[in-house]
């Protein structure tokens, strides 16, 4: 019987010697060029980190290729960032250029530092989850292909964090991203009574609905849905496979903007609805990629240097944002869920 509860490998065994020696004694860092960081310790020691975008969904062959590179240039040490980037930890300055050359030859994107778009946080989608309203890896690939120039360069006013969640469960911090794509449904669940009655626990199912839209249907030993109250969150489907929420004709992608988690200047903020719906259009989601590019560029053109997406919008006002971004403002944009009131304007001051 194998050992249980041994915990993760000890991180100190994974650190390159220069990090071990200077642990907690770093003095400053600089970005030498997009994707290349130089950290300098109080002792004068240095480490170079080369940041590379990955697809997150990787085969063991890909991981081994990364290992080959890390063996060749980093004495076998590397790390991943919280945004699915790979960081090659180069202790020998002279190996930085050769590593960059080989990365370029092999087609790895180097970047994601400073005022750039970093890799997209995203979720599983059709490759592995059972509740998605859209895909994960495919949209990410299409969007990052399109925004590639902003990953490998640092020409934006500030950093830009993009995220995608393929359903309203929103695994990942999409609700606090500069730009967030979220897979949405637009119709109430279709109830398959035989599945509900056989496989699901009715009280739990009823309790799972945030808007109390689900009522028992004792005759069928099943439930019914008050369609007017349903906002298509899919939570009932998570609890019970008989509540079919997926609908290829109506599912799609919503886009939220202006969130952040850092405390720099302004407190962390939620992303807010910009585009209520775009169609699911695999394999390359042209409507979504075009909309995201437009959102990136309207900010890049108008924001002040150093201004995050949400800071820019809060300064100019959301009414001005909708105008500049050429996004029609609809009744969908006005909150009518649980915590709506504080979003209503209570001042007679606004712009035209």
């Amino acid at each position: 019987m194998s050992r249980t509860d041994i915990g993760p490998p000890y991180f100190k065994d994974m650190l390159p010697p220069v990090i071990k020696e200077n642990y907690g004694r770093w003095k400053y860092h600089e970005i030498l060029r997009p994707g290349v960081l130089r950290h300098v310790a109080e002792s004068g020691a240095e480490i170079y980190s080369v940041r590379v975008g990955s697809a997150r969904l990787m085969t063991v062959d890909r991981v081994r290729e990364i290992c080959d590179l890390a063996d060749k240039y980093c004495d076998g040490y590397l790390r991943f960032t919280s945004r699915h980037n790979i960081e090659f930890l180069v202790s020998d300055k002279n190996k930085v250029e050769p590593l960059l050359r080989e990365l370029k030859e092999k087609g790895w994107p180097v970047g994601g530092t400073g005022n750039s778009i970093s890799n997209m946080i995203h979720t599983q989608g059709w490759i592995h989850c059972h509740t998605p309203a859209t895909d994960g890896s495919g949209i990410v690939k299409a969007v990052m292909d399109d925004l590639y120039e902003y990953f490998v360069d640092m020409k934006l006013p500030a950093k830009l964090r993009i995220a995608l969640a393929c359903c309203l469960n929103m695994c990942g911090a999409v609700h606090c991203s500069d730009i967030a794509m979220v897979g949405i449904h637009r119709k109430p669940p279709v109830i398959e009574h035989d599945i509900v009655s056989k496989q699901c626990e009715i009280p739990t199912l009823i309790a799972s609905c945030p808007t109390a839209a689900i009522r028992p249907n004792p005759k069928l030993k099943s439930v019914e849905v008050n369609e007017e109250r349903c906002m298509y969150c899919g939570n009932c489907y998570t609890m019970c496979p008989g509540m079919k929420i997926a609908d290829p004709e109506n599912d799609g992608v919503a886009i939220f903007v202006g969130g952040k988690v850092s405390n720099a200047r302004t407190p962390p903020m939620f992303s807010r609805l910009a585009i209520p719906y775009l169609p699911n259009n695999p394999p390359r989601w042209p409507e979504v990629t075009a909309a995201v590019r437009k959102l990136v560029e309207v900010w890049a053109r108008n924001a002040r240097q150093g201004e995050r997406y949400g800071e820019w919008i809060e300064r100019i006002g959301w009414e001005r944002f909708f105008e500049l971004a050429e996004i029609p403002f609809t009744d969908k944009h006005i909150d009518d869920f649980t915590f709506a009131i504080p979003t209503f304007r209570t001042a007679a001051t606004f712009k035209w």
Partner: protein, 402 residues
């Protein structure tokens, strides 16, 4: 040439970003499961819907979580992914690896699984995607042999994660990596055996830049900070100014608290330390010249979560400052008290933030023994509807009316 079986997915082989499709196709040549995973994904691309069923309960001996059961709803067409379970493997703190360790993982997943992975999942685990029920135990045994353990899933402590911290960041006010490792090991039972109302996430960021999105994604967010003054290297400030940084415009004027001032003639930065709220802006702008103070610890915040069900929450401050040094007993004790109160009071699938919202912060603070502080709120209440505890009133509450 034979016609491609995945014409839609093939479109994702174009473009400069790394293509998971290209990689999967290569692996598919020796892995029938990947061949079928591609086939099923192509079907999803055509139908615009997913083809995975609700997970059944699968697992390994001694664990209540860490494995996500996954079954195809078109298993007759794609038998090699009829069972396609996921294993969550607890990452080392800060996602540091040696290639030796990574290669071991690859070999194990080549032997017992599809060879598909995520580096990393949203919570921070290494995700090993796709294997059959009968391979789960052997895969776990091999992982354990190589020094890996499973992460969390279901209603348990989810795998804690931490920013790069003191390993490579000059701003880390706490040892994020060690705290993460220590807590993960202390709470193995909570991590591996789901027994709570719902999930509980724990994330540790070294400073208010919060590179792991702790405030948005963790039920308990630990965010490093300091209590004394930012330290300033005056010479280095001058170098930034000489190097072309418009210190007044880019740094001083954007300080949210007006704590900074600029003497353009002398190229001197002034700081009213007591006005600074430690937002990190000026430090981010001039990393060579400014750094956090020396009296370091963390701010603890509670309740962060995504929208499901009632709304999304950003975590709320519950401990403005706590020193965090090994063995972190004060933090561990607080966690235990929080879990006890939550476990006792929450409904099924109620996150701790939702419970606090339902019961009120004052109930929570009293139950876990934390004193109220003005740092906990942006502003106090505007309504007069507040409660008193019996002992706060004369004669122990309501007097009988005679």
């Amino acid at each position: 040439m034979a016609e491609s079986r995945t014409p839609l997915l093939d479109e994702l082989e174009k473009g400069p970003w790394p293509s998971f499709v290209t990689d999967m196709k290569k692996l598919a040549q020796r892995k029938p499961a990947v061949q079928d995973a591609l086939g099923q994904l192509e079907m999803s691309y055509r139908d615009k819907k997913g083809h995975w069923k609700h997970g059944g309960i699968v697992g390994v001996r001694g664990y209540g979580g860490g494995v996500i059961g996954r079954y195809s709803d078109v298993g007759d067409v794609f038998p090699n992914v009829a069972e396609f379970h996921t294993m969550r493997v607890n990452q080392p703190s800060g996602w540091f690896y040696t290639t030796e360790k990574l290669r071991q993982l690859c070999d194990i997943w080549e032997a017992y699984g599809s060879g598909l992975t995520n580096f990393h999942g949203s919570t921070g685990d290494i995700i090993l995607l796709g294997t059959v029920t009968q391979n789960l135990q052997p895969a776990f045994d091999a992982l354990s042999e190589a020094g890996f353990d499973l992460g969390g899933s279901g209603s348990d402590l989810r795998t804690p994660s931490a920013c790069v911290g003191p390993a490579r960041c000059e701003w880390a006010c706490i040892d994020t990596l060690d705290i993460c490792h220590d807590l993960t090991n202390t709470f193995q039972d909570e991590l591996h055996r789901p027994m709570w109302p719902y999930k509980f996430k724990l994330k540790i960021a070294g400073c208010p830049n919060d590179c792991v999105a702790a405030v948005a994604r963790a039920d308990l967010s630990v965010i490093g900070t300091w209590r004394d003054s930012i330290r300033i290297d005056r010479e280095a400030v001058r170098e930034y100014a000489d190097g072309g940084l418009d210190v007044e415009r880019a740094v001083v004027n954007r300080c949210p608290t007006g704590a900074l001032s600029w003497n353009a003639e002398k190229k001197e930065l002034g700081l009213k330390a007591e006005e600074c709220n430690r937002c990190m802006h000026c430090i981010n702008m001039m990393p060579k010249a400014l750094c956090p103070g020396v009296e370091r610890g963390a701010t603890l915040l509670i309740g962060g979560k995504a929208t499901i069900l009632q709304t999304a929450f950003l975590s709320w401050v519950i401990v403005p400052f706590m020193k965090l040094e090994p063995p972190y007993e004060e933090l561990k004790d607080l966690l235990r008290r929080i879990w006890e109160w939550w476990d006792e009071n929450a409904k099924t699938r109620e996150r701790v933030g939702e419970l606090i919202y339902r019961k009120g912060m004052r109930e929570f603070l009293r139950a876990v023994g934390l004193p109220p502080a003005p740092q906990m709120v942006f502003r106090p209440r505007a309504n007069p509807y507040y409660f008193w505890w019996p002992e706060e009133l004369e004669g122990n509450g309501h007097k009988e009316q005679g």
